[in-house]
Assembly symmetry: C2
Homo-oligomer: 553 residues x 2
């Protein structure tokens, strides 16, 4: 896109959108606002924005004192804690880049992230030292490790060297720091996306990207100082889906979940109720488990007005409805990716649709990915890159462009084909846009099943499978077929109490939504379904494992 210069405005075009502005603002106006953080022992640590900001400045001075310079990349391997929040500002505020390290990556991939980014320091939570130790021999350019621990540094047993104590450094540093006026296009943080093929790909978010997205998030979720934001999404996943930044923008109370797994959701649900959380986000499986716990509570929590952002995959109606009925809270479906900074659509109803549609139609609408958020360009294109109409039917690849959408991966020329010449990111997802602007994802481009020249949506079929009461998990992939090119294969995990469900019954269930030719030739009942490190169905693995199921017969 050629940029055209108009009449010059004498205004402050050169005032840089720097993430440090967000925290400076929060401290000036909301210094007493509370920040809560769940410790490893389950206790809640509490302090204020003012306290936090002092420690951010101590961190900034500390990092400079051990040699971190403007432009340096620093790896961060940490849970959702108040220290991680301090790092969100104190580290990029000095002009360094926060490289988020996903602890669930395979050792080689995590080492690749560190080496590819050129990280020279790594900040690591004490109980993640083991992961750092595993990759340390592969990461020769790392100069030192900073351990987040309450212990005396001498008590830490580790092969990592040299090491510093985060707390020791801070305690020796001044709580006053003069932040540089960073160019807004300087990198604020890097996240690496795993995908299902190839090496992790680096997405570097600028201060400007991050700042504008925080504003958008606050605006689109009508956030203000009365909100309580529960940070459950790992902060190494796409900057925690922008919630820490948006909370800072409006001075909202922040609650950090600490280290947690699905087993801790009863405790996290209690915290949600106790701290009166009004904004949070998670994948459907997390909210589903929370809902099951809430169903058992004698006194139902009142989450009226709460906006619970549900991403990663489509939330079932039963989940959205259950939350509303049990708590008054609203599950809001959102769609995004690492390249698009997590939030690109939101499913928010419009007053006229609430008047016109029946309840069933409204729930079905709420399952869609929602309307694109303000500020982004979206187009749906066919195989030749030709834009398709916004008619609710035409389905093609979703392309995104905007102030925070990646236009290239860092230092990875081989990935050029993921972007168009006019600056769009090719999401690899297929979908349609209706006349009201609601996006409906129909499939991952590479997961679409093409049988006899006709398309079958594996995602629709998975959703249909999951709507059967006996089905806990399901995956549908296309497998090479001698006659029809590809035919669907379904993997199904049955619930304990439904182990007797038959293939015939599943076929019958699917027949409600699918033509006979679309039904999967094989349905395999399995104990687990392979998933990627971020919990997505690993269709690549499934396809490889069962590649000859329709040919060997």
């Amino acid at each position: 896109m050629k940029t055209i210069k108009g009449f010059p405005a004498e205004s402050n075009g050169n005032y840089q959108l720097n993430v440090i502005s967000l925290i400076k603002h929060a401290v000036r106006n909301f210094s007493r606002q509370e920040i809560v953080s769940r410790n490893l022992d389950g206790n809640l640590f509490r302090y204020s924005y003012r306290d936090s900001y002092e420690r951010m400045q101590q961190l900034a001075n500390s990092l400079e004192s051990i040699g971190v310079k403007i432009g340096d990349r620093v790896g961060v391997l940490a849970w959702n804690t108040y220290q991680h929040f301090e790092i969100y500002y104190g580290l990029p505020g000095i002009g360094a880049v926060m490289v988020s390290m996903n602890m669930r990556l395979a050792k080689q991939d995590l080492a690749y992230v560190v080496n590819h980014s050129g990280a020279s320091f790594i900040i690591v939570d004490e109980d993640l030292i083991q992961i750092a130790e595993t990759i340390a021999p592969l990461c020769k350019k790392v100069k030192a490790y900073i351990i987040i621990t309450d212990k005396n540094i001498n008590e830490i047993e580790t092969k990592l060297s040299p090491i510093y104590s985060y707390e020791d450094l801070l305690s020796k540093a001044s709580p006053k720091y003069e932040w540089p006026n960073l160019d807004e296009n300087s990198a604020y943080a890097a996240c690496y996306t795993t995908g299902t093929t190839g090496k992790p790909k680096g997405v570097y978010y600028s201060h400007r990207n991050t700042y504008i997205q925080a504003m958008m998030f606050a605006a689109q979720f009508s956030m203000n100082v009365n909100d309580v934001v529960f940070q459950m999404v790992p902060m190494f996943h796409v900057l925690g889906w922008s919630k820490p930044q948006a909370a800072t923008y409006v001075g909202a109370k922040l609650v950090f979940s600490g280290r947690w797994s699905l087993d801790d959701l009863e405790e996290l649900t209690s915290i949600m109720v106790q701290e009166r959380v009004s904004v949070s986000g998670a994948v459907p499986a997390v909210f589903m488990t929370m809902l099951e716990f809430i169903r058992k509570m004698e006194q139902k929590p009142d989450l009226t007005g709460a906006r619970l952002i549900c991403g990663g995959s489509e939330p079932p109606i039963a989940l959205m409805r259950g939350f509303r009925d049990e708590t008054g809270g609203e599950i809001i479906h959102s769609y995004g990716s690492t390249e698009a900074m997590a939030i690109t659509t939101l499913n928010i109803l419009k007053p006229w649709l609430e008047e016109e549609l029946s309840e069933v139609e409204l729930w079905n609408l709420k399952k869609k990915q929602g309307t694109i958020v303000s500020g982004l360009d979206i187009i749906i294109v066919d195989e030749n890159g030709i834009e398709l109409p916004q008619d609710g039917n035409s389905s093609g690849e979703i392309l995104l462009r905007g102030p925070w959408i990646t236009r290239s991966y860092y230092n990875a020329p081989e990935t050029k084909e993921s972007f168009t010449e006019d600056g769009y990111f090719k999401t690899g997802d297929a979908g349609s846009l209706d006349s009201e602007g609601y996006l409906k994802i129909t499939d991952r481009i590479k997961d679409v099943i093409k049988s006899g020249g006709e398309w079958i949506s594996s995602i629709d079929m998975e959703n249909s499978l999951i709507s059967h009461p006996g089905v806990l998990e399901a995956a549908v992939v296309g497998i090479p077929h001698p006659k029809w090119d590809e035919r669907p294969l379904a993997l199904v995990v049955l619930r304990e109490e439904f182990k007797s469900v038959s293939k015939e019954e599943i076929h019958k269930h699917l027949s409600n939504k699918f033509s006979k030719w679309q039904l999967p030739d094989e349905i395999l009942f399995v104990d687990t379904i392979p998933r990627t490190s971020v919990g997505k169905l690993n269709k690549k693995t499934i396809r490889m494992e069962y590649c000859d199921i329709y040919t060997k017969k």
Copy 2:
């Protein structure tokens, strides 16, 4: 401020924040959203964002067809109508600059604005033709006038020449237009500030300024698609205080007030109720008159949840309280200026203050200008430019800096002293910031009264005077005094039914808040108080008129 470059981010730093993005977004997602506009005959015109966007594109094609080019300046002399909204996008969208023309300026000043901006075309409402005719002989560089009228252009009697009909042009133009990808630092619009001295000074807002402010406004007022925004503030005043743009950002319903004066407020109040307005803005005098009308209504309107932004001067507690008690609506005090794009502070309460403060304390807090909005830098400095502490007591000049704050006036090198070297705008207002970040304006720097080396706040005294039940209007100025350098003089307009109030009674009333030495030596009961074209107290005129009142005796 020196800008420091960090590690380059590969993201879309070059995606330009262009105001056209706002309307494109609104139309993609909210095409059916309603826009209402009050005609001159009092009827309400209704159409949709989709309809409006088609006409914006027709306008863009029309302007190009008559020779408007990228970078050209075009004057706009119009009321709050749907056509003015179309101009807000269709004119700057082609890369031209919308020069807002304040119809209340003196002829010479308005002609100065046209000539100083170099406007080559003027768009004018039919019933404002007379004003355009008055200045036309002074504006030789204007090539043509575009008349907004429903009439056939031949029926328009005017000395303006050549003329086009807005509607004729649109009817012949294509409703499809390819918007250029404008550099975000291109000027979007210009407003000229009148002040009390000198020639009007031009503030040129870039697309970026306007875009970021729209996002801020939407976020800070928690606006969304369910909101109904009533545009009463003239759209030639600081871009209508950003409401049309913020409404577009979230796809809110818009209601334009048309041509109106204080006499029409009964009708406007009815529209507010009928259209279920939830966001609006005005100066205190407007809301005061509305409240008086509401008080007389048998069935009180329910404005629960409405945010009524009150700027220009401090709203009395009685006004804020009255609106809350009668309607449930909240008057929110805001502070700004043309140079600061109207919205720089907002008085929004914090949950902990609502717990800690008594009702009286909360109402007093609500009278303050509020906390600075996210994204701006504010400092309070003494006479030597030294920053004062945020302690609620230290009072000095308020300096502002940020993504939408002007850093210089257009083509006016003599005004350089209004800005600091590090990019701050010197507001000319004096105030203090408390530990919670609330700004309290204590005076206009040049209106502060210095008596015997001690300060007297004329604004505090005016507020105290107005709190007397018999006082309708009041102004306090400093007048040269042989002994004390300056002494206060009060001008007071009494309400009809309180004409018997004496000087002694006013003195006694003021004594509740002021020391004896601070009381004005003279209190003059007058019929009217001089005001500027935008309704501010014209203290320059008052001081001149009474300059010798304390010396001639």
